[in-house]
């Protein structure tokens, strides 16, 4: 099976798309990311990442209907594919396993 490495930012973007469900498109993903992470996210970076994720098969996209705002231009909505969900789960699983393997002491040392 094709196993593609999911980068940290890619994982965040993929997750955000999953969170936004039906409303995931470039702008909403970028703004949501900024809000949630509190760091300034370049829109172009988000756009390229979305494109790349689609190319890798984690995301699928389709054009929405015509809009009244933004000069009547349509939006490209993204949705997580099965393959994408699997990748997310795998990433989560890896992290959980690692967290679980962590001794309580070590956890305390790391602070709250």
């Amino acid at each position: 099976m094709k196993r593609t490495f999911l980068g940290e930012f890619e994982e965040l973007v993929l997750l955000t798309v999953a969170v936004l469900e039906e409303e995931a498109y470039g702008v909403s993903v970028a703004q949501e990311l900024e809000k949630k992470t509190g760091r300034s996210v370049g829109f172009s970076t988000v756009h390229t990442t979305l494109q790349r994720l689609e190319e890798k098969g984690y995301l699928s996209s389709q054009m929405g209907g015509a809009t009244a705002e933004r000069g009547g231009r349509r939006k490209r909505f993204f949705a997580v594919t099965t393959f994408g969900r699997k990748a997310l789960r795998e990433a989560k699983q890896v992290r959980e396993e690692l967290w679980n393997a962590l001794s309580p002491n070590a956890l305390q040392l790391m602070g709250n």
């Binding site: 829109f43 172009s44 494109q51 190319e55 933004r70 000069g71 349509r74 939006k75």
Partner: protein, 881 residues
Amino acid sequence: MGPRTSAPDPQPPKWAGRLLTFLGDPETAEELAGDLLEMYAYWLETGSKARANRRYIWNALKLIRPFSRRKRANPYPNPHSLTPAMIQNHFTIAFRNLFKSKGHSLINISGLAVGMSCAILIFLAVRHETSYDLHQSHIDRIYRVETENIKENQTYPGTYTGMANALRTDMPEAETVAPLLKIGGSTMAVGEHRFRESYVYADAGIFKTFDYQWISGSPADALTQPNTIVLTRRYAEKYFGTTDATGKNIRLDNKQDLTVAGVVEDYPATSSFPFDMIVSFPTLKNVNPDYDQNRWNGWNDNFQVFVLLKKGTRPEQLIGRFAGVVKKYMGKEALDHKRFKLAHLSTIHYSGNLGGRSANVSLLKTLSLIGALVLLIACFNFINLSTAQAFKRAKEVGIRKAIGSNRQSLVYQFLTEAGLITLLAAAGALILSVLALPSLAAALAIPLTASDLFTAETALFSVILLIVTTLLAGVYPALRLSGMAPIWALKNNVAVQAGQWFSMRQGLVVVQFTVSLVLISCAMLINRQLDFFRHADLGFNQSAIITVGLPDNKPEKLQALRDNVLRSPQVKDASYSFNSASAESNWMQSMEYRQRPEVVQVKTQMKMGDAHFLDTYGIRLLAGEPLKDSDTTHSKILVNEIFLGRIGITQPAQAVGERIYYGDGDQFATITGVVKNFNVNSLHQKIDPTVIQVVPDNYFQLGVKLQSERPTAASVQTALSHIEKAWTAAFPDQVFEYSFLDETLAQAYQSETRTARLIEVATFFAVLIACMGLFGLATFTAEQRTKEIGVRKVLGASVGSIIGLLSKDFLKLVVIAFLIASPIAWYAMDVWLEHFEFKIRIAWWMFPAAGILMTAIAMLTVGFQSVRAARLDPVRSLRSE
């Protein structure tokens, strides 16, 4: 989180958005533009406008394609017709077609090669003629002082000898003044080496006005001293074998030694000042003490004055100055009839100048027109042959269109074919040009060499010519062929549209034949006029006369020389005179007849000759008595019939004894005889009223009439060596030069002879190319109608009727061309003949003659194919179906 709605008033920088539309990935362009707009609104809310703008631009730039690569391969690529693969394919197909129809390709390539070669050669000639003196670094400020005779409304390039000094004292605007006096022929000698040379007198002004590069000597003091000379490199080598000639001596006319003051670099071919020997003006006092350098009555075109105006002075500002000069030196009354003008240096190549070469503008124009026409005829061949063959390409075009080729791509393909043929033609044109250049240079008397052909300018012109020719020849066929409907093209039905194209082809063929016919008619007429020049009755006998110049005319020397010359059995008579019975340069004088109530003024040509003048030149005396050598007191003259007509005397006998006054003075001469009119000028001009008188001081040539009217080469040789011996005995240390009168006179028609030769060559090529095209068309028609001819033959048509059938169409075109061409040729020749006072009549039969000639040529061309088609065995032509 939902999307933000409605953008606030401020708008993002438009250019960034536009940039993204152009350079961004077209697939995501729409959503990106929208997304960015929304983000902009968001950035405006969260920060300043400047920051929002910055972020907008930055993000837009980062999304431009080189930075954000295209994500997916396009499943439906946009076909582009000029991909390398397609271009390669165009060339492959073009080459295949070239070889498939070799005959047509050959016709096209050779025709276009001749046409382009004409264009290139004419470009060279025009370029040469228009680049005279442009190399002079002060060209924008150099002018020639010209003299205008207001009453005659004529401007002369020469001026009064006093002009040089007048300009120096009365015209502060002149930075330098360069007077030049050209001397026709003198003997220059170094030791025993003698040469007959022409040279100029000049002062140091010539070196300050014009560009000279010094090999030895210096411009500052050269030509300031008497008896000094400056040579070009070529001449220093000719006389001394070295350029290091400064300080050496050259002897002028065996009476004055000239010291070489310097040697300058050779002048370029495009110089109006091709002087190899420049002698200082002060020398003139020693050589010709009578020459008045401050003369204000009468001038000569051999003396010309050039000025270099100070920076910022315009010639119009100097009108007043020149009026002042006229008033000061010639008197107030001269203002009405004399005026001086400044002619810019760049214009003097188009009128008389001291260099002796001037551009024949009308010949160049005619030549350019003919060149363009020949090229056009060749292009028409291409158009005709391509469109005629359209049916052969129909399948190809149909298939190409059916599998998705667009029209543009087909146009490119056909243009590639035209371009390929033109390119091959251009290569041929280059070879032709190299071969033809020497003969063209000789025919036009333009000093052009092969090195002129291989310059950047010629290359650029050739490239432009290549492109223009390709488009001229290729665009129409490309548009026609690519415009075929695929269904029609694929159906095997060719005859339908052929009819429509035929008219266009007919038109082009008619144009070709019209041009050919006009050229043939003109060539015929020009040759008849030249023939007329050669055989016209001039009123005197020009054959078997040898003329020799006289360096000196002391009476005792002349008497001895004549006696000596007449001793030869080959010599019939000999006469001393000012010039020949007909000559290029003449002496005009105003004469008055006062026997009428009103004084009659006659502008008269003066012929000065001895008692043998009439006999030597075969001029007939109508009344009175001939002159005697003793009639030197200016009192006896002979006049011609025209002169009589001007003074109102009808009977020659009545004129004898009448008094004719020289100008408005008291001196007069008596008419002792009347001669029959003879052409004192070339046949371009009317016969002037003429007076013959005996003036030994003005004898400058010896005319020797031989015994035989048509002497053999051997007897001419004997006579010449005898004359040379006698002449050298009379004038030792001089160079003997002779010429034949009929040859000298023929030079007056050189320009017409040149025009005739060029038009003949052009006619030949125009007819040749047109016929090649016709041949191609005839081949095509015969091929196309093979079946028809077969059927006709089976049904009993004779070979003759089939030849008639095939030739009829082409004959019709020749007839139409004839109807158009004749009036054009008539008009053109009428304009041309205006130049001549003595000319042939344009006879009506010349045009049908040209027409019949053209028809015969066309019939021969078409006939070959027709006969072949008519004689084809019908079994063979009908079998294939």
